[in-house]
Symmetry: C2
Subunit: 323 residues, 2 copies
């Protein structure tokens, strides 16, 4: 038997007699033979690498997204190369360049906001690419996410239902996903006739508990504080809850507080934090699966998958003003 036959048997290529396949695979296992990925990549002009670009690892949201991606890819036989962009377009561009040098078979990126040059790099690389966390119906685009705007709308609507009219929105980082949530909030309040731009607090710093605490203090010390606050991320809302405690501000009686993403600690807060559970695990799994199909040249019917989110109502917004 020639080396090529062995090669084919190992790769599970059809066109090899089952008996031979078994013999080869048995021998490989016995000898602990593992094909050299470098030689494979060189000869076949494709690696088993998938490059993934995410903004941060310090937001639990992306950690869960990533774990899910990695699990799915690993099962399909791919290695994940992780690049953390820190929400910096230049850094993303450079990371992508480095990752592309490895001739990855696929690419997973977060959202659609990036430099023109990065877009060009992706397109000209010819590497299949799936976008995560946001959706777009543009043709040729592959994506798995959910409607950030509708989700933002849902949170605002919940606060409105609780009886609040003056509802503040606190955004941090100001990446496109946060801005879409803000847009959903605006759409909702405008519809209810109670939108007031003075209630929109947008801060470019990364979201954090400390920033949330700081924002709550600022917002509540104004002349006419809002009845409810929608924080763009749970860490901000958690920090706000703790600051409220320090200041003796009663939640939700004095001010209702809602977050976004439903991160691990939120159910533990005092009071427990109302939030919107985003399907990041599902996004990661579905995006990775779609990419695997693309990499294998299989047809992908649904090129844009929109997943469901879930409003999780807890005591930080309910109790007092309900009904």
């Amino acid at each position: 038997m020639s080396p090529i036959t062995a090669s084919r048997a190992l790769r599970g290529e059809r066109a090899v007699t089952p008996v031979l396949v078994e013999r080869v695979q048995g021998a490989a296992k016995r000898l602990g033979y593992v094909p050299d990925p470098a030689a494979r990549a060189l000869a076949s002009r494709r690696s088993n690498h998938v490059a993934v670009l995410i903004p941060l690892l310090s937001n639990q949201l992306f950690v869960e997204l990533l774990e899910s991606v990695q699990r799915t890819l690993r099962t399909a036989g791919f290695q994940t190369l992780i690049g953390v962009t820190h929400y910096d377009q230049d850094e993303e561009e450079q990371l992508l360049g480095e990752q592309l040098a490895h001739r990855p078979s696929g690419l997973l990126v977060t959202g659609f906001e990036r430099s023109e040059e990065t877009r060009r790099l992706i397109a000209s690389s010819g590497v299949p690419c799936v976008h995560m966390m946001e959706t777009s119906r543009a043709s040729g685009v592959h994506c798995v996410g959910f409607s950030q705007q509708d989700a933002g709308h849902a949170v605002a609507a919940h606060l409105l239902e609780g009886g609040a009219r003056r509802i503040a929105f606190v955004g941090a980082q100001l990446d496109s996903r946060v801005m879409k949530r803000a847009e959903g909030y605006r759409r909702c309040l405008r519809g209810a006739g109670c939108y007031d731009p003075a209630l929109e607090w947008l801060h470019p710093a990364p979201s954090s508990m400390a920033l949330g605490a700081d924002m709550l203090a600022r917002i509540m010390s104004g002349p006419q504080p809002p009845q409810a606050i929608f924080f763009c991320n749970d860490d901000m809302a958690q920090g706000a809850l703790l600051e409220a405690m320090r200041r003796g501000i009663r939640v939700p009686e004095q001010v209702a507080i809602a977050g976004f993403n439903d991160l691990p600690g939120s159910s533990q807060m005092v009071p427990p934090l109302t939030s919107l559970r985003t399907p990041r695990g599902e996004v990661g799994a579905a995006a990775a699966s779609m990419l695997v199909a693309l990499m294998r040249g299989r047809p992908v019917q649904d090129t844009c998958i929109e997943l469901d989110y879930e409003l999780v109502v807890r005591a930080s917004t309910s109790g007092a003003r309900t009904g």
Copy 2:
């Protein structure tokens, strides 16, 4: 000029005229030429990959360790392959096997606790390996960390100084680092003549805020509750602080609470949480640097680097019983 000369110029190998080097690098930049890592790996029998094994990504501690590692390695021109073991020795073994298939140039692992087979794989691979977060003076071992036991001792000593005699220890996950902290706690309390095994609460589940809350409830509802509690990780202590609030247990007056690692939220807690800041960022950077030296065949004088930690005293242990 021949291709080999260009190859040498690009790699910054000496033995090429500076003029040529400049000419080649200029041309490469102009043409956007990037050497194929697969071809490089095949010809040179070494990749620019470094495999990193960490237990979890959902503990901020490891995220910071990893970010630091990745930053250092990237600067030195290496790609990081991340494997998350979930504290599972079988999973670690399998991940290592997959990573070794990529012929990494170096290996970074967490601690010393692993299966015999994994140890054998590492040794027989011949790939330089640096251990992180714990230290060992065994010969041939490369490691960067700090003394988990001394750090545990320091926390217990602080609680003792606060006037407490009945000091509980709560451990979760029960990996070797937690057990070393427990040992430090024991050593300290034994020295003070107040060690009581009944005050040691060891739970195999992963540490979390919810578990911390649960443990506090259990511990404080006993007949003779402790005056202080040392939680093995800050997420546990944070959960405990919130549970104390729910139950109207005053901290630190009724019970002092200390955590470990000084994670981001701890300074935001009510009251702010006393903790021990572990040098994970420094560990990651130093371990990666040591590995880079090993991979480049450069001598490493100090094969075991022990870094400093810092006790961060906040209101959860001080105020009432001080002095």
